[in-house]
Subunit: 169 residues, 2 copies
């Protein structure tokens, strides 16, 4: 998304050794450079001692280049890959706990079905719904649920990788 | 999962004000307390200035209680919710870039179909596959792809919330 000040979101994938404190080193560095992290997701890779972070930050192109260079100064950082937003596969998952009773339940199930979302838990007072997709799809879905009583929203943040036809592969 | 030393994974949801540096404050605190973060995912909530983190750390029950108390000392931390692993809705998304050509492609598409995974990008040399589920499902899927050439794996880390029947709601 574009923000008001002309800055755009940048996505960077960072491969790190999973040593204690590496996550806080990476987030501190990005923050110290004056960037706010829009979202971050970090999980294990196939190499057990390696983690892959997907970080979304807002900034101009030059500053992002600077961040990439700085990240390499952290010993545990193995690789920094800029993700091209026009040529990426990007996905996010969102869990939403929402109140629904009586007629409301039926209406909500219709919205859920249209968005190909899934009900992962049903209580007497409502649902937990899971939706997967790009951030825009999740935003639209949340907007439609807005009139209902949303109790909790948990988003993973984007995971992204460059498509096969992307030269940065 | 249980680890060798008898420690188990604990999942904590942390609601924070999205002020600069809050992410690094949270990760630093957890790390300083001697815990390694197994996975972290952070995304926006419906309140624009709020973020929700799902953090998985390994430790004994008492230390996790300590972490929860300590987290409240960070000004931007609004709420800390322990997630009960037996009564939670937990999901993770994983993107896998994998080489596949010729006969291999067909074989791989069968595995993808069985796991209800999705092909989100096709190149002349392979696929990018998206799979959603709990961590065990994703681990099994990755194990099946192991004989093939996996180029990149990006996991979001778990997002989780307590089910409706959970007293911690």
């Amino acid at each position: 998304m574009n923000s008001d000040n002309g800055y755009t979101d940048h996505i960077v994938a960072v491969l790190v050794h999973n040593n204690p404190g590496v996550l806080s080193k990476v987030t501190s560095l990005v923050t110290r450079r004056g960037f706010n992290i829009d979202s971050i997701s970090a999980g294990p890779t196939r190499q057990n001692d390696m983690f892959r972070l997907t970080i979304v930050v807002k900034g101009d192109d030059r500053s992002i280049e600077q961040i990439q260079k700085q990240l390499y100064k952290i010993i545990d950082v193995v690789k920094v890959v800029p993700i091209n937003k026009n040529r990426m596969a990007g996905r996010e998952i969102c869990l939403i706990k929402v109140k629904a009773s009586g007629k409301e339940r039926h209406e909500m199930l219709q919205i859920i079905s249209v968005f190909k979302a899934n009900v992962v838990d049903v209580g007497t007072n409502g649902f937990i719904v899971e939706i997967t997709g790009d951030s825009d799809k999740i935003d639209s879905f949340l907007a439609l649920l807005e009139p209902h009583q949303i109790i909790d929203v948990a988003r993973t943040g984007i995971v992204a990788m460059n498509r096969w036809d992307n030269p940065y592969n």
